[in-house]
């Protein structure tokens, strides 16, 4: 396979395997098309990271990569690894700086034709209401340390009690918006300071809030079960734990770097720094990461409810008329304690999903009752000019990928290349001509995030659909975007 020295074998149309060599404890498995794997073999670095992850003590079955794999810090983005809960390690590099960065999809009862007339006003009001970028004033009052502690330990419950959304939203959030292991006592003062005024803020970079239209339905039955219909207006939110999570990751990379030496872990990359899950360092990281995860779910809850209020105001509708409701919220940067079938045994493992989305099969006990028969909704964002996808988890995902699938498109151009490509162009006008109204804090962000800077997310989603890991249910087309 090309000039690369990485020994890779094709298992089937969309799956490749690197057999263990050197210090690899398990094989590497990459879900990709022939074209994608050719590109990866040329680049090599992301595949080397798949190999590196296979060195983690306690790793079970495979070091996995989804088709949106690209180079990351320690783990590749699009990487999944499960480690034995008793004997294995936990690594902040397997989660990333933006802990519980994730997606949230909310439905309205409105249709495209009803929204189109007031779309410009809607985007403007959303942009005014939801803080974006660095230093934006907070939409809700700055938290006290005690309130931040409650958010970090109790998850979305606090913000729902404060009137951001409905109690029934909690049922359709991964983990019901609360990781039980969260312990605020292991959070640094710096992380606390960075979290106090960031709840309800979108951030910058690739984070966004989109107004989308359901423009294609692939599976009528499942779409109906999710409450989706052709022409419907939905809201898609992409953000995470903001400065609170970034600081926690940074703090624990230092802790884990020392722990890796203390426990004599032979790791091929400093950013794979890890500690045994059962060690004090491992437990503390898991508790701190859980706090950041709870913050992120609360952040998306607040942002969604701010959007609901804007919709009501712009269209002068009651809640009953707007029919606004959360469809699902799922993380794509997280480590979770989960039960999985390994050989003939059920084992408790720590599943690291870094740029990968949980995709539970139908009848899984962790699914909300209303989705029990169809499987877990999976939300895969694309770029702001084309489309995003709603998919559903399968039994095959449980068997092959620890119930995980892809998370997005992946960049094609660097930010610098994108800015160069956008120089002298009126990108806002270009997007408007494609039917997308965008409002962003900076023009640099619009250029960096323009559609051609990203790969076509459809090719990524198709690999997982054709593999039977996550199946397409609906396609969403953006018509309004706000960004930092």
């Amino acid at each position: 396979m090309g000039k690369s020295k990485i020994p890779i074998e094709k298992i089937d149309d969309n799956l490749f395997e690197i057999k263990p060599f050197g210090g690899m404890l398990k094989p590497g498995r990459i879900y990709a098309s022939d074209e994608m794997i050719a590109g990866l073999l040329e680049e090599e670095a992301p595949l080397q990271q798949v190999i590196n992850v296979a060195h983690l003590p306690g790793i079970e079955k495979y070091s996995l990569a989804m088709p949106d794999i690209h180079w990351g810090y320690g783990f590749p983005i699009g990487g999944v690894a499960a480690t034995d809960w008793k004997e294995g390690v936990i690594s902040p590099g397997g989660v990333g700086y933006d802990i519980n960065c994730g997606m949230r999809l909310a439905a309205t009862g409105l249709t495209e034709s009803e929204v189109k007339k007031r779309l410009q006003k809607l985007v403007e009001e959303l942009f005014k209401t939801i803080p974006t970028g660095v230093g934006a004033s907070h939409a809700i009052k700055k938290l006290s340390k005690n309130e931040l502690k409650k958010v970090a330990q109790e998850g979305v419950n606090l913000v729902v009690e404060q009137g951001f959304g409905q109690a029934e939203d909690i049922e359709v959030i991964e983990e019901k918006g609360k990781m039980e292991f969260a312990d605020f006592s292991v959070i640094s003062q710096r992380a606390i300071e960075r979290g106090l005024d960031q709840l309800g803020t979108l951030g910058s970079g690739n984070h966004f809030l989109e107004i989308d239209v359901v423009d294609k339905i692939y599976d009528e039955e499942k779409a109906a079960a999710l409450g989706l219909f052709q022409g419907q207006i939905v809201i898609l939110i992409h953000t995470g734990s903001r400065g609170f999570g970034y600081q926690i990751c940074d703090d624990y990379l230092k802790v884990m770097s020392k722990a890796a030496q203390k426990y004599h872990l032979n790791l091929p990359d400093r950013q794979l720094a890890a500690a045994p899950i059962q060690s004090q360092e491992g437990q503390d990281y898991f508790a701190a990461m859980s706090c950041a995860a709870n913050f992120a779910w609360s952040n998306r809850q607040v942002i969604m409810d701010l959007a609901r209020r804007v919709f009501k105001k712009v269209f002068n509708l009651s809640d009953a008329d707007l029919q606004f409701r959360l469809i699902y919220d799922v993380s794509h940067n997280i480590a979770k304690k989960e039960e999985h079938q390994i050989g003939d045994k059920k084992k408790t493992v720590c599943v690291h999903r870094k740029g990968a989305t949980r995709a539970l099969a139908p009848n899984h006990p962790l699914l909300p009752e209303k989705y029990r028969t169809i499987g877990q909704p999976v939300l895969i964002p694309g770029d702001m000019g084309r489309y995003s996808f709603v998919c559903i988890g399968t039994e095959k995902a449980m068997e092959e990928t620890f119930g995980s699938t892809c998370h997005g498109a992946g960049r094609l151009l660097s930010r610098r290349q994108a800015k160069k490509a956008g120089a002298g162009r009126n990108l806002i006008k270009e997007l408007s001509e494609r039917g997308v109204i965008i409002q962003a804090k900076g023009m640099a962000t619009v250029a960096e995030e323009m559609p051609e800077a990203y790969k076509d997310v459809q090719s990524v989603v198709n690999v997982m659909h054709n593999s039977g890991i996550s199946l397409k249910v609906a396609r969403l087309k953006p018509i309004g975007v706000i960004k930092g």
């Binding site: 810090y73 983005i77 700086y97 933006d98 660095v134 230093g135 910058s204 970079g205 151009l413 900076g442």
Partner: protein, 156 residues
């Protein structure tokens, strides 16, 4: 004679990276400071001008950091700048009396700097790149022909 380049942006698909140079370690840290604010604000001169204009009204802070290696020291220094920007909305500029000492246990930095509070208006209007964190990836000091260099990747 070639013009000395304090830092240059390196191509990186997902994030931002800069290669920083210095004829000595103090100069490299000065240039890292300049590179960081250039990445964040897009224009260091504008920031420098604003800081110079307000210098008399701002407190002078002393920053002391000690780490087990030069790489960790630079990581801490840049993380410090980022923390103050993100959390306190302040920038450290200009830098005065920057001293680096390499010790048997690692390296130490001592610096005096004016801490300037950014106004709400400036923050609302400026096109600022948010840096999530300074990463350790590929962070390695190199000294060749009397010139120090290091590449830093910022997760954005």
């Amino acid at each position: 004679m070639d013009k000395f380049i304090p830092f240059k942006e390196i191509e990186h698909t997902a994030d931002l990276a800069i290669q920083i140079f210095g004829r000595n370690l103090e100069e490299l840290f000065h240039n890292a400071h300049q590179g960081f604010y250039t990445i964040v604000f897009g224009n260091f001169k504008k920031i420098q001008k604003m800081a110079n204009a307000s210098q008399d009204k701002c407190p002078l802070k002393t920053l002391q950091l000690e780490e087990t290696s030069l790489e960790d020291l630079l990581h801490s220094f840049l993380s410090e700048l980022n923390y103050h920007l993100q959390s306190k909305r302040t920038i450290f500029s200009p830098l005065l009396n920057l001293e680096i000492h390499q010790t048997s246990n690692g390296a130490r930095l001592r610096i005096n700097a004016t801490e300037l509070k950014l106004s709400s208006q400036f923050l609302a209007e400026a096109d600022i790149t948010e840096i999530k964190a300074v990463t350790y990836h590929g962070l390695k000091f190199v000294q060749e022909n009397g010139l120090w260099s290091v590449t830093v990747i910022f997760d954005i």
